[in-house]
Symmetry: C2
Subunit: 235 residues, 2 copies
């Protein structure tokens, strides 16, 4: 089954790309990344590196004009990125309204144009409590909508193998697939190396720790995450 | 109810804008147009004129990078635009895959950011047989999907008053609302005036004729449409 993957260059989507590449029932056809005007574009180069490693084309779709229209998010505006654990209220600032619906709809259009049979995305269970457009009900309704939108035109599966799994299970998968962990980018800040203090850095370190996978990534702050996890657990 | 309208500058969406502007239960907040790399951008200036007339902001969202990614359509590629009636097989070339899902998802994101309570689109019954993403089943499933995507964030209605009406009924509405018909653009070609021979010109002339509304628009070919309609009827 010819499969297009939405790939940000982060741990989840790069792991998914490697998983699909090794899946005998699937053929990885392309990686698609979105430039929605995020303040740093570092992660896009990690998606490109993944595509090169797996020998497939990498498409960057520029939706920065859309990003500008969708104000109010720390990912696109001049608002400070908060430090700390995802579970904290302050993390809500990182929501770009309707982002997954927009990216998935574009990916479906591209899949349709290119004759792909599946669109894969690495949304996972850990995202549910804060992002409604990562929840299973959303994903199911999105696939249903696409069935109607492309009726008589194409039948394209929405492949979301991590939708009910935790970040820890993805970290374990990454370890099992032997992918170069330092070749994935999670940090919300745009430094040379991972900051170690933003929500995604903390979540990433916690996941590798719980999965028992040795993390080869370099972090500016090596120890912040343990305190942050403790704080979230006692909240 | 604060209502955002997706407006192409065509007859249907300009009529819808005037309809919402006169609706006591609604407040028109903004018109949103999409530049998806269509070969001519003339219609966008008609959307702008409509926004100016009604005193609301006009947003143009540049998704031309998406247009490039979605190859295979006469609206964005270097393929000749076919002449004739919409009902003909040749009109299928004018389909941009998944276009409505993409535009609606972006419009929902903008509505969410701006505190709008409804997204309105002028899709109508005449589009059903060729465009699956204009059919009532699609629209209903799209609204359901958005309910999940923005759960706990916003509740935004999908307003589609023309979904079960014909182009003729929209033409009648345009007449009743007294809007300047020559200030709407339907032609798929990019000439100085409407060509009168492409699918949308033929459909437009037929609709005004059936509605008994005097069409003040100038056409390069005044008579082609009658022959084309006859041809479609006898097919």
């Amino acid at each position: 089954m010819k499969t297009l993957i939405i790939c940000s260059g982060g741990l989840d989507s790069v792991t998914l790309a490697h998983k699909v590449a090794e899946d005998k029932d699937r053929t990885l056809t392309r990686l698609v990344s979105f430039d929605y005007g995020q303040r740093h574009k570092k992660e896009l180069s990690y998606a490109k590196a993944c595509a090169d490693r797996l020998g497939v084309p990498h498409h960057i779709v520029d939706i920065s004009s859309v990003g500008k229209a969708l104000t109010g998010s720390a990912l696109t505006d001049d608002v400070d990125v908060p430090d700390g654990h995802y579970a904290e209220e302050s993390m809500k600032i990182t929501i770009v309204p309707n982002r997954n619906a927009i990216m998935l709809a574009i990916a479906y259009g591209m899949a349709c144009s290119n004759g792909d049979e599946a669109v894969a995305t690495a949304v996972h269970g850990g995202d549910h409590f804060i992002y409604p457009d990562c929840r299973p009900d959303f994903l199911k309704s999105f696939a249903t909508m696409q069935g109607y939108a492309l009726e008589d035109v194409a039948e394209i599966e929405l492949y979301t193998p991590y939708a009910s799994l935790s970040k820890t299970e993805i970290a374990a998968d990454a370890g099992a697939l032997n992918l170069p962990l330092e070749e994935t980018w999670s940090c919300y800040k745009g430094g040379e190396i991972h900051c170690g203090t933003c929500g995604t850095c903390v979540e990433r370190r916690e996941a590798f720790d719980l999965a028992g996978v040795k993390d080869t990534t370099e972090y500016a702050d090596e120890n912040f995450w343990r305190e942050s996890v403790k704080k979230a657990e006692s909240a």
